[in-house]
């Protein structure tokens, strides 16, 4: 693991679940971790640049912004790059992972409504000649509530 400054760790530990909702949130965060707004902003910026922080932003439950599904494909190894690149070109695709399984390509499709999702899945099937498994969310038992980081 990359070395993290005390301030970087404190910001993740204290504010990954909730940050203050006020016009100057970084001022409030600085007070809470005994730092200055300038240092907080600089540290967050650095973490974003190095990739340890994916973003400061809202976590939105599925369904709020429209319809979505988890899709999976069984792609022949020699076509994986080509098919993955094609899938990633759609603006409606916002996560695309290779996984170790016969179903080796997994991605999330989000559109304004279910017809929009169906349309993207159909276009991918037409373009690639491969079947797309459609695994829409039926029930959520836990949605990204954050994660206790162990800073060993």
């Amino acid at each position: 693991m990359k070395p993290q400054s005390r301030l970087a760790r404190a910001l993740i530990d204290r504010f990954q679940r909730d940050m203050p909702l006020e016009p100057r949130p970084f001022d409030a965060m600085a007070r809470a971790v005994d730092s200055t707004p300038a240092d907080v902003l600089a540290t967050l910026g650095e973490m974003q640049e190095t990739g340890t922080l994916s973003r400061i932003g809202a976590v939105v439950p599925p369904g709020v912004l429209g319809a979505s599904t988890l899709a999976a494909m069984e792609v022949p190894e020699e076509r994986l790059d080509e098919v993955a690149d094609h899938v990633s070109t759609y603006a409606e695709v916002n996560h695309n992972y290779e996984r170790e399984h016969a179903l080796n390509l997994w991605f999330v499709v989000t559109a304004a409504d279910r017809r929009g999702v169906d349309d993207v899945l159909a276009r991918i099937e037409r373009h690639t000649g491969l079947a797309v498994l459609d695994l829409p969310l039926e029930r959520a038992y836990r949605i990204d509530l954050g994660f206790d980081v162990s800073w060993s």
Partner: protein, 163 residues
């Protein structure tokens, strides 16, 4: 959940912008307000209401688990009796190390699993240990299981700030 939340077009643009990420500026909501062409007070009021109604679950500093040293990302999947899956999902979702837990349809014969629980670890042994704890909890309710490790992230973006 969210199905009953009614949001208008401005809410939708605001949620998209907030999901993509707040600017690292002293007054980030002012910057969002400017980008959307509305008053800052309007943005603050709407964000409060979206949080209260669950259309935004939380606003926070979202870490990149991979960059923090959690190199193993395992999607653990389970085939649980339809009668038992909701109780099982509730129990698995309550485990502190499970970040996401969902029920999805089976697609036999290719895909026999209906319960998904996402687990992160510093290595695969840690993920397997955690999957073992889920297996213990599910007991005889789970007929089959697998762990799908991600080997490459091909695209991961928040939604863009759209007009």
């Amino acid at each position: 959940m969210s199905a009953t939340v009614v949001i208008d077009d401005l809410d939708r643009r605001l949620v998209r912008a907030m999901q993509a990420g707040l600017p690292l500026a002293p007054r980030p909501y002012h910057a969002v307000a400017e980008a959307l062409g509305v008053a800052p007070g309007e943005v603050m009021a709407r964000v409060k209401s979206l949080l209260a109604h669950g259309a935004i679950r939380r606003i926070g500093a979202v870490p990149n688990h991979y960059a923090l040293g959690y190199r193993a990302n395992g999607m653990t999947v389970w085939d649980v009796d339809d009668d038992a899956v909701d109780a099982a999902g509730g129990a698995v979702g309550a485990l502190d190390f499970v970040t996401h837990c969902y029920r999805r349809p089976r697609r036999p014969p290719l895909w026999p699993y209906n319960l998904f629980a996402m687990v992160h670890g510093k290595d695969r042994a840690e993920v397997e240990d955690k999957a073992g704890r889920i297996a213990l909890l599910l007991g005889g309710a789970a007929r089959g299981r697998d762990i799908l490790y991600s080997t490459r992230i091909l695209k991961k973006t928040g939604l863009r700030l759209a007009g």
